[in-house]
Amino acid sequence: MRRPILEIKNVTKLYRDKGKTIRALNDVSLDLYPGEILGLLGVNGAGKTTLSSIIATLHPPTSGTILFEGHSIYKNIISYRKALGLCPQRQNLDTFLTVRENLVFAGKYFLLSEQEIKERLDILLSQLQLTKYADFSIRALSGGTKQRVLIARALMHNPKIVILDEPTVGLDPDIRRSLWDQILKLKAMGISVILTTHYLDEAEYLSDRICILHEGSIRLIESVKALKEQRGMQTLENIFIELLQEYREQEC
């Protein structure tokens, strides 16, 4: 039996906002397997970004825990972070540096040797078709190119898990397709991917399994194929809309 690389166990996140307590995540549990692409779906405010930022160790959960290779990430957060690559929704590259400098410093921040940095830089610039932009300032790049640099930065230290938060939002269709190919290459390399997206065609094309979050709770974790068979529908979009209606009716 395959062992999960990441186990999210009963994670709850509460926020205080203007005296009110908001439950952003409610007892969320899920596993991520090596080399798997897990699509995290949900409407705005469902808790996708909260969950991915807790997995990325940006925020602590209010309760629950996360195990990486069987050990709590909070007991040795530094070694977990070395195994994690984050490609956030906001393009937060260092705009004072060039593409090459961004990647070189990413390598230094993750303790790679000079030789490793050089090797990874060459591989990633070539893989993500960034070689001709290597000495461009970040400010001079288009949105799609910046997105590829973000992915390259997340991969610089050879992580085992990559979190992609809305990686193709606002990009042209051809660039989206090209990024999809890059994401599938990650899977081929054995990297586990958590993909947060609003685009259901993207989730359908890329994900091995999808996880639907609704109002902070996981409502469903299933492979796209099994879901289509169960529901007798052709597209994930139709399934998702039907599921949302069901959830809203249940709430009523």
Binding site: T57, H59, P88
Partner: protein, 260 residues
């Protein structure tokens, strides 16, 4: 573990120094203008307006606070813009580095930048003051310590401001409601003993203000006159103010970004 933390910390500083040197000339020109105006005011104009000669050097030395505060404000503003728009800090918070080290890197980076810019300016300014600079019993050993403590306090203080206030409040109200009163009710522009002699209330208020200890500490260090608050009083006062800033910063960071 410690070695790894130091390597990442070093890489963060290396990046900041690289960015600093990419526009260092321009930054120096800005601050040379400020210093030139101050030298002109204190060396030439103030004596013509009746300022006693022995107050020229202390007044000029106090004015070095201005570029220090400008650089501190720039640190705070950059952090504020990052928190609000660019979120580079989110990336840095996922580095394999304890968050205390990350925030320490912001403070040390500020200290390096402020020292690289203000120490040459202070030296040039003192040189230009000529005969007006008359050190009585300078504390050459204590001066670098009080300078470092001053920069450390300003680093923690401005980082605290950036995390503690909303972007809108920071942009619209910070100078008017925080920094201007702190400048005016301090011994930055006037020697503290003179303020106290003129008004014990204002003198007392200035003692509650860390900016006073920066100006007076550097004056006492470089001039050594008994007219200033003794440099060895200023150092613990600045360290105490830094501890308060760090406590405030810790609470503000938790409130603002709730990091692991």
């Amino acid at each position: 573990m410690l070695t790894n933390n130091m390597r990442i910390f070093g890489a963060l500083l290396q990046r900041d120094i690289k960015v600093l040197f990419s526009n260092f000339g321009s930054r120096m020109i800005d601050n040379v203008i400020v210093v030139s105006i101050n030298v002109f005011l204190y060396r030439y104009l103030a004596p013509l307006l009746g300022m006693p000669a022995h107050l020229v050097a202390p007044s000029y030395i106090g004015s070095i606070m201005m570029p220090m505060v400008f650089i501190g404000f720039s640190l705070a503003r950059n952090m504020m813009v990052d928190l609000h728009y660019s979120s580079v800090i989110e990336y840095k918070l996922t580095l394999p580095l304890p968050k205390k080290w990350l925030f320490a890197s912001y403070i040390v980076s500020f200290m390096i930048e402020a020292a690289l810019i203000t120490i040459p300016l202070l030296t040039i300014g003192i040189f230009l003051l000529g005969d007006f600079y008359v050190p009585v019993a300078p504390h050459w050993f204590a001066t670098p310590i009080v300078y470092a403590c001053s920069l450390f306090f300003l680093g923690t203080f401005f980082l605290f401001l950036s995390f503690n206030y909303s972007y809108e409040w920071f942009e619209q109200n910070l100078w008017a409601r925080r920094l201007s009163p702190m400048f005016c009710f301090s011994a930055t522009f006037y020697v503290w003993h003179r303020i106290y002699a003129a008004s014990p209330i204002f003198g007392g208020l200035a003692l509650l203000n860390p900016f006073s200890y920066i100006a007076e500490g550097i004056r006492s260090g470089l001039l050594g006159n008994s007219e200033f608050i003794w440099v060895w009083y200023c150092i613990p006062a600045l360290l105490f103010a830094s501890i308060l800033s760090i406590l405030g910063l810790t609470v503000a960071i938790k409130k603002r970004i709730d990091p692991v």
